[in-house]
């Protein structure tokens, strides 16, 4: 059956379709397309262990990050505080359904799905229990990769702080710190998860289980 597949160390660049033979790369190195300079693969050090640790941390910090108040404001004797979840509920109350939907998807749903799928994936790989359902999880991670916007939301909070500083007293809440940690976790996952390694591991395991 394997005879109808091209050699496994051949690789085509997703950006310019150039065929190249993948050299052996050690952890910490990347292979670059000789034609257009895009990264073909990069090997990461202790990918599974690190990803497992970071995604666990991310899942733990997720609930505080969305429910605790990000900022509180005090002006003219009136006090108000707001969390990520509340700001979405207020948008729905004001009938801005489209904007509420966008904020919900990009800052709540996508980061959660990414964290959960990497957590489940690295846990199962660590335990050597690879099932076909893992393929779906890793595929969903790939599809959602571009749509997570925690970093943009965080910058948005910083900018609103600067804009409002002139008119009121602002206090940074514990939610903002949690949100920063969540952002840190989701950024670190991108740099620790070794896609090529995970795919190869799953391919081998599923091929054995099929036989």
């Amino acid at each position: 059956m394997n005879s109808c597949y091209p050699p496994h160390n051949w690789v085509a660049c997703l950006k310019c379709d150039t065929l190249s033979v993948l050299p052996p790369i050690s952890p910490g190195e990347s292979a670059i397309c000789p034609c257009c300079g895009a990264t073909l693969f990069s090997r990461k050090k202790q990918s599974i262990e690190r990803t497992l640790a970071i995604s666990t941390a991310g899942l733990l910090i997720y609930i505080p990050a969305i429910t605790l108040p990000l900022l509180s404001i005090r002006a003219l004797g009136v006090y108000n505080e707001v969390s990520l979840l509340q700001s979405i509920l207020l948008l729905i109350e004001d009938e801005f359904y489209l904007v509420a939907f966008c904020v919900f998807i990009f800052t709540l749903a996508v980061p959660l799905v990414r964290l959960f799928s990497t957590f489940y994936l690295s846990l199962q790989l660590k335990r050597q229990q690879i099932t076909p359902s893992l393929l779906t999880f890793f595929r969903s991670y790939h599809q959602l990769d571009h749509w997570g916007m925690t970093q943009v939301f965080f910058l948005g909070v910083i900018i609103s702080i600067y804009k409002l500083l002139t008119m009121a007293t602002l206090t940074i809440g514990s939610g903002l710190i949690s949100l920063f940690l969540l952002l840190l976790c989701s950024t670190l996952i991108t740099s620790t998860l070794d896609h090529h390694y995970v795919w190869e591991k799953m391919e081998q395991a599923l091929a054995i289980s099929r036989e």
Partner: protein, 206 residues
């Protein structure tokens, strides 16, 4: 000599990058079962459609106010550009620059840039392919950052709710703006950079 994978009937999976021989049109990747094709299907048409949609949304997003500021019960409408002007008047130059970049310059560059890249997949241009694909990767990377203004208004509208004295509300322009950002992101995702290299190959061999 560099070979193109599609010349040899090989297609790399868009999801897991495994090389597959692509014999029938609707084959799936042997490793992750993603649908395979040599190039993204209907790439040019889809990119053109999404880019035009984004361009159309760019107009109401800039005309209508994105935010209403109530001071002592009197509403003051703020569009993207008047908001920036207010920031400059208040002396908040760095913030004004960031907002101006994220919500005006970047979407504009993205829309124009996609039209330009799309045109270059039809007509051969002398600008190097490497430069063009770097430009495309930049457009792809910049995508989410235009959402900045949507998030800023969301937070400010939720936070500044101080009754009669002062409150901020989102306004109609914000929905158009969010749509515009999503459309440019979809346009960037449906564009296939490999088409730029295909036209170069065709030109050299002719």
């Amino acid at each position: 000599m560099l070979y193109r994978a599609s010349k040899l009937g090989l297609s790399s999976c868009p999801c897991c990058q495994k090389l597959n021989y692509l014999a029938q049109p609707n084959a799936r990747c042997a490793r992750c079962h993603t649908q395979l094709s040599f190039r993204k299907s209907h790439s040019q048409q889809l990119t053109l459609a999404w880019t035009i949609a984004a361009l159309l949304m760019f107009i109401p997003a800039n005309i209508y106010p994105i935010m209403l500021i109530y001071k002592m019960g009197v509403p003051e409408a703020n569009t993207i550009l008047t908001g920036i002007v207010t920031l400059v008047k208040n002396g908040l130059y760095p913030i004004a620059a960031v907002i101006f970049l994220a919500s005006f310059i970047i979407p504009f560059i993205k829309i124009i840039g996609l039209f330009f890249l799309l045109y270059n997949t039809r007509r051969y241009s002398n600008i190097s392919r490497t430069k063009q694909s770097q430009f495309y990767r930049m457009i792809e990377w910049l995508g989410p950052w235009s959402m900045l203004d949507v998030f800023v208004v969301t937070i400010m509208a939720a936070l500044v709710n101080l009754g009669f004295f002062s409150s901020i509300e989102a306004a109609a322009g914000l929905s158009y703006f969010a749509l515009m950002v999503i459309f440019t992101m979809l346009a960037a995702h449906s564009f296939d950079v490999r088409l730029l290299w295909d036209i170069e190959r065709r030109n050299i061999h002719v």
